[in-house]
Amino acid sequence: TRTRESLNSGIDSVLALTREVDTATLDELEAVLITSDIGVDTAQEIIATLRQRALREGIDGGPELKRLLKLELLKILNSVRSPVARAATPPEVIMMVGVNGTGKTTTSGKLAALFRAQHRTALLCAADTFRAAAIEQLEVWAQRSGVDIVKTKQGGDPSAALYDALNAGKARKVDVVIIDTAGRLHTKSGLMTELDKMRRTAAKVIPDAPHQTFLVMDATTGQNGMQQARLFTEAAQVTGIVLTKLDGTAKGGIVIAIARELGLPVVYCGIGEKMEDLIAFDADAFVDSLLGD
């Protein structure tokens, strides 16, 4: 892509100019990290570690320095909690949460299609009863991915929709139930409590449900992403992140800061608006793109 090239040429030209570990080079690498939204604190700490390691190992060449940086970033991304194992007895219940407009509904639809492709049966639950046409939107995705949907009417109780969906999932013996919830800002305590109520409802129908709770985060998110991750984890016990809109120019570096502080793994990436535009997270490719390789 265009940005990839421009970023890349940015780093390479910087690195080509220096033949030793000098402050200017490290500053430029720090700038690359900061513009990826990794956060200043995290960027500075990573660069400090990099500097020490480079000095210890006597590294002075640009490409070598970049390789070391990549290893540092991978170390952080690989130090996270491993994604939760599948439920012992189906259905496995997956709940999608996040702030407004990040891609929860779209990702629910894509996930349903992904599971179908893996020959697992899925059921969608329209538990966003608040936003205009949210239910209709998920209905289109149910149709596209060829899975059933359980819904109530707009303005209804999301927990009631959830209750119906989980019972239907049990009765129909589906493998996975995917619950789309309304977007909510993590600062709104009333709405965060609603999530907790939904979780308790789920656990009443199926022990240990929801088994997975995905925080859907937009790759354009800046430093606010950290607070989103903290508060959604507190209120809804997030087990992993889906990082969407990586097909744009944003790098999504905040997930590195989140991995470092909260140990949350990125599980999937959204790379477009079509059904097949959801891929398993690949730390190596992610870091390459972040560094412009």
């Binding site: 892509t1 265009r2 940005t3 700038a31 900061i34 513009t35 990826s36 939204d37 956060g39 200043v40 702030v99 407004n100 407009g101 990040t102 891609g103 639809g109 608040f130 936003r131 205009a132 046409a133 949210a134 209709e136 939107q137 209905e139 289109v140 995705w141 596209r144 707009q154 800002l185 993590h186 600062t187 709104k188 937009d218 790759a219 354009t220 998110t221 800046g222 430093q223 606010n224 992403g225 607070q227 989103q228 809109k245 097909d247 744009g248 120019t249 944003a250 790098k251 905040i254 608006e273």
Partner: protein, 312 residues
């Protein structure tokens, strides 16, 4: 979560000799804190760099009112600089000499275009206008239904049009837009708000579609709707939309959260287009005119800076 910038600056000045005045030495430490605060607020790195240099020059070059401590002096300089970038002009709307005035909504996926279209219509209605809404988002599932429901909830006119089984694509988008403009004129609506599909600045076919909509509709306003939680990438998307469309204003949405909204500064800096409104909730009335003072205090992570500095 963030330490107050004022406290940080006070520390910077306390640690150094010559605390009574601003010197080359102590301003440098203060600027490190300011740089940090701005980056934590998502102001773009390059924008921060330029800003810091301006602040340094001003701080060293001018002797501001003596009633202020060095900390306060620096805060005032930063505050004024940020307000200067954001511009003092608040929401002003351009209306066409020949109605209907067309307002084109543009932005990335999920930024809040559809919700804001409804809010704008409600705001215009309150101001005595007769707005008509139309959605030319033929791509996203249920996007047009969403605007229909929003329009109904605020009792605003909407042109639904008939897709007639035509495939989603630029010809259909153009047809709906053309019909809506005619319909607005026929209905005596003086403003037409055109909600468009979310798109990436690097998606050339969809950006071309936007350009052709502009040509077709001759809009008085092209509003770039941006999410207040946006980070460093704000400059890239804003720049792409501005270069290809020439945006006339910005709406910053989701300001009811705790994002600092530094993206406002980045967007203004690369496009020169003023922020005209902010979105403060999901409901149609959660919509306010933009006040640079307030967001500057927020970006700086401080309470009401203007009040603090009133004795200046």
């Amino acid at each position: 979560m963030f330490e107050n910038l004022q406290e940080k600056l006070q520390r910077a000045f306390k640690n150094l000799r010559g605390q009574g005045t601003i010197t080359e030495e102590n301003i440098t430490e203060a600027l490190v804190e300011i740089r940090l605060a701005l980056l934590e607020s998502d102001v773009n790195l390059n924008v921060v760099g330029t800003l810091i240099e301006h602040v340094r020059e001003k701080a060293l070059g001018t002797q501001v009112a003596t009633a202020l401590s060095p900390t306060e002096q620096v805060i005032k300089i930063v505050h004024d600089e940020l307000v200067e970038i954001l511009g003092r002009d608040t929401a002003r709307f351009k209306f066409a000499s020949q109605p209907p005035t067309v307002i084109l909504m543009a932005g990335l996926q999920g930024s809040g275009k559809t919700t804001t279209s409804g809010k704008l219509a409600a705001w215009l209605k309150k101001g005595g206008h007769r707005p008509m809404l139309v959605s030319v988002d033929v791509y996203r599932p249920a996007a047009r239904q969403q605007l229909e429901i929003v329009a109904k909830s605020i009792s605003a006119q909407i042109y639904l049009g008939d897709l007639k089984g035509e495939p989603a694509g630029t010809p259909l988008v153009e047809r709906l837009a053309r019909e809506a403009k005619r319909e607005a004129a026929n209905f005596g609506c003086d403003v037409l708000i055109v909600d468009t599909a979310g798109r990436l600045g690097i998606d050339q076919p969809l950006m071309d579609e936007m350009a052709s909509l502009k040509k077709l509709l001759n809009p008085s306003e092209i509003l770039f709707v941006a999410d207040a939680m946006t980070g460093q990438d704000a400059v890239n998307s804003a720049d792409a939309f501005h270069k290809q469309l020439g945006i006339t204003g910005v709406v910053l949405t989701k300001m009811d959260g705790d994002a600092r909204g530094g993206a406002a500064l980045s967007i203004r800096n690369v496009t020169g287009a003023p922020v005209k409104f902010i979105g403060t909730g999901e409901k149609p009335d959660a919509f306010e005119a933009f006040h640079p003072d307030r967001i500057v205090s927020r970006i700086m992570g401080m309470g009401d800076v203007a009040t603090l500095l009133e004795r200046a």
